[in-house]
């Protein structure tokens, strides 16, 4: 049971880190929009970073090609 607890703690830590990453990128995004005259490309880059964070860490896209992790 101890290992499950450890795994949970690790997963939760990843969750908070990604959540913090999303918060930071959202703030950055907002200031890009306020500050830059032509924010299109920087905004697209930030959006891609945010999407990457969610797709990789929240949606576990790697499960598609690595079968070991996260099997249940």
């Amino acid at each position: 049971m101890n290992t499950l607890e450890q795994l949970r703690a690790k997963k939760m830590r990843v969750g908070w880190l990604v959540g913090a990453g999303l918060a930071v990128t959202t703030v950055v995004e907002y200031y890009i929009a306020v500050g830059l005259a032509r924010p299109l490309v920087p905004l697209a880059i930030v959006a891609l970073i945010k999407a990457w964070l969610i797709v990789v860490y929240f949606m576990h896209i790697k499960q598609l090609w690595t079968s070991e992790e996260g099997g249940h």
Partner: protein, 188 residues
């Protein structure tokens, strides 16, 4: 003729995951088309009247809901049933808040600011938020089903595909908003 299938040969979970990802990929294209339409018709222009505080608030709500959805899945994966229920409920509440914010608030306010669904920027604004809101609605319904099934004890650390599927779908809806928010509220 035998009717027994040797299931051991097939990795049911991997099959389900691939199917879900294919569905998500296909569904994502509808949003991509609307995004392209938005830029094709209106370039990077947008009306100044949009309610920026509301837009940012909705974005934060949805991102936080993704975090709680992640925590729900992580909880059941490690055998924490009450954590699953708690986080599912939070996700459902945030999702509902988002819906109320878009449909109940933003959609009511926008026409007074000159943004109407029939013409100009409103065509893109209402079709994009509308289709997204429809997906949020289906996501909330899915999470509700999963929530009630979870209350009946349907999931455990070794079988939580229902949770995983609903949560993945929810993240997908969130990813769509990650692109829609800057495209609708921020670009110039």
């Amino acid at each position: 003729m035998s009717t027994h299938v040797s299931h051991a040969t097939y990795d049911r979970l991997a099959i389900n995951r691939l199917g879900l990802w294919l569905f998500i990929f296909s569904d994502a294209l509808i949003f991509a088309i609307l995004l392209i339409t938005r830029f094709a018709l209106f370039g990077t222009s947008r009306p100044e009247e949009l309610n920026q505080a509301l837009g940012l608030g909705l974005t934060v709500i949805l991102l936080v809901s993704s975090l709680t959805a992640y925590r729900a899945e992580a909880a059941i994966a490690t055998g924490d049933r009450s954590g699953l229920l708690r986080n599912l409920l939070l996700t459902i509440i945030f999702g509902t808040l988002f819906l109320v914010g878009v449909v109940g608030w933003e959609w009511r306010e926008a026409p007074h600011l000159g943004i109407v669904p029939q013409e100009g920027y409103g065509i893109a604004f209402f079709s994009m938020t509308g289709l997204h809101a429809f997906h949020v609605l289906t996501g909330v319904l899915l999470l509700l089903i999963v929530f009630f099934n979870a209350r009946r004890g349907a999931y455990g650390p070794d079988n939580y595909w229902g949770v995983e599927a609903a949560v993945k779908y929810w993240h997908f809806v969130d990813v769509v908003w990650v692109f829609f928010y800057p495209a609708l509220y921020l670009v110039r």
